[in-house]
Amino acid sequence: MASIHLDQIGHSYGTAVYALEKTDMHFEDGKTYALLGPSGCGKTTMLNIISGLLTPSDGRVLLGGTDVTRTRTAERNIAQVFQFPVVYQSKTVFENLAFPLHCRGWDRSRIATRVAEIADLLGLTSRLSQSARRLTADEKQLISLGRGLVRNDVAALLMDEPLTVIDPHMKFDLRRRIKQANDQTRHTVVYVTHDQNEAMTFADEVLVMSAGRVVQRGTPQQLFEAPRNLYVGNFIGSPGMNFVRAERLDGDLRLDGVPLVGADRCRGIAPDAEIVLGIRPEHIAFAQGEELGVPASIVSAQDHGSLLVVDVAVGSDRLRMKVRRDVSFPAGQARLRVSSDQVRLYVDGVLVN
């Protein structure tokens, strides 16, 4: 187990565009991190640099304080699970799981015990003596996963969307099992995913990436409550944050004439700056009784299980709000209550307050 420090790391695959922009990054020992971002933003590139499969064009990689930039993958002692299953077809399931231990010179009885543990965790016990060749994609990925988890002395565990090819109904269970395995070993884990729910449930800290750079890192709660910019706001949450232009009147910020945010929160913002309000769909509700609310007309509603996502029009803007299924709301016109302390202020796309 070790901390990971990427010192001024940048990487380009021989083109002018950097797949990973120069950044400084620190992953603390024993914590679980989720790397979240769209396809092609450089997540796999970052993992491969950490594990040494890729030598970065710029910067240094430090593992537990030691510079390992030029150290071979094998010597870094890092476990990595790829997005698509990789199994050694000429070996049995047992041999596949035992191979990493075998390479590190463990003795037979210790290997057998450890492989049995991992096989049990992943439900592969009955398959151990089979050839890895004839397994389904699901089972092959379980083996890949098992090979990643089997060593309990690794410096770090990197997982690159390990559950993409897994059947949805198994995903939930597996996520729990991976977490369980990690809680025992307390490795430094970097977990790449497309799936924000996965990121939010798994990780102590989430890093949101876009086009080769980390846009924001923080706890799941921080990312949800205070996205640093419009991109993170849109990306985190489902549906993403609403962004509407505010009217500034007498120092107050108003939405369709209704004051939402007091002048005190606008301090330090240039008086002529255009302010955009970021409002989470979770923080909008229908106003009750005589309560003052933002007038809106309801456009449509989609069923999301226990919740409804309602599309409303406020002036020329569209907002989405989440309401419980059992809340009755008027058809056509409605008034919205917005929790104003949850509203975030953005100038030029960047969070200011």
């Binding site: 002692n77 790829f82 990789v86 000429s90 390479c103």
Partner: protein, 277 residues
């Protein structure tokens, strides 16, 4: 209906393939009279069987001793194939996985350089090979022939294996390195065991070429060393000895048939199918 047609086709094809072998087999037991007496197939009924043809292969009347050329051919073919496969596989793995650059020369250029060796017709190569072996004092030796065959087989081996390794996902090597292998161990312990199908195909090409080559064996050896194809041809005389030629044809083709059966066994066991992914 369809399966009937299929069986008819299979039977016809088998007849087509087996008939020449059958013909050679019966002829090898005939004498001059038996050969010229029209088509006959059943020993004792159609013709009087004789072992003359087979005897002539072992130094019998009017024949030559085929045992030594046979052994020479086995040694030369297997050594040349083995060397080509070992070197070719290593070279191909390098070319498939690592980037080489010498000025404007890159991997694809190197691969083309290998293949381009086979563009020239053999006759163009014969004279340089002759001169080189002469210079080295290796004319008319097995070592000399092995060197020449390696030069001829290596491009085939490299070409087949590069293509094969390119089809093996890189992640397999990467995974092996993550599991604790050095790059060479990853190749040796993981990629190689998974690459048997490619190696088998490449070996087959090499062995078949080496075993059947007449031209270079004929031009580069004279008396001390003689390979099977050359020896077989020297069986010929003013009266064509069909019986000896048939017998020699059968023993010549035997190793290739054995290889074919062996490969077919592996294929039908599914050992080769989907070895990777």
């Amino acid at each position: 209906m369809l399966s009937t047609l299929k069986y008819i086709a299979v039977v016809l094809w088998s007849a087509f393939v087996v008939a020449p072998l059958l013909w050679a087999l019966t002829t090898s037991f005939k004498t001059a009279n038996g050969v010229t007496g029209g088509p006959t197939y059943l020993p004792y009924i159609g013709f009087e069987p004789s072992l003359d043809g087979w005897r002539s292969l072992f130094g019998g009347a009017g024949g030559i001793d085929i045992v030594r050329p046979y052994m020479d051919s086995l040694i030369v073919t297997s050594s040349a194939s083995l060397i080509s496969i070992v070197l070719g596989t290593l070279a191909a793995y390098g070319l498939s996985r690592f980037e080489y650059r010498a000025g404007f020369v890159k991997n694809t250029d190197i691969i083309f350089f290998f293949i381009s060796q086979r563009i020239m017709p053999p006759i163009v190569l014969a004279i340089p090979f002759f001169l080189m072996l002469q210079f080295l004092g290796l004319l008319d030796t097995k070592i000399g022939l092995i060197l020449v065959y390696v030069a001829l087989l290596l491009p085939i081996a490299v070409w087949i294996m590069v293509d094969f390794f390119d089809g093996v996902p890189r992640q397999i090597d990467e995974m092996a390195m993550l599991d604790g292998c050095t790059p060479f161990e990853a190749f040796w312990r993981i990629v190689l065991p998974n690459s048997m199908p490619g190696i088998l195909v490449a070996s087959m090409f090499c062995v078949i070429f080496g075993w059947n080559d007449f031209f270079f064996a004929f031009t580069l050896t004279f008396t001390d060393t003689q390979l099977l194809p050359v020896a077989v041809v020297s069986l010929n005389s003013s009266v064509t000895p069909w019986w000896s030629l048939s017998a020699s044809a059968l023993v010549s083709v035997a190793p290739l048939i054995l290889i074919a059966i062996f490969v077919e066994r592996l294929l039908s066991r599914g050992t080769l199918a989907g070895a990777i992914r």
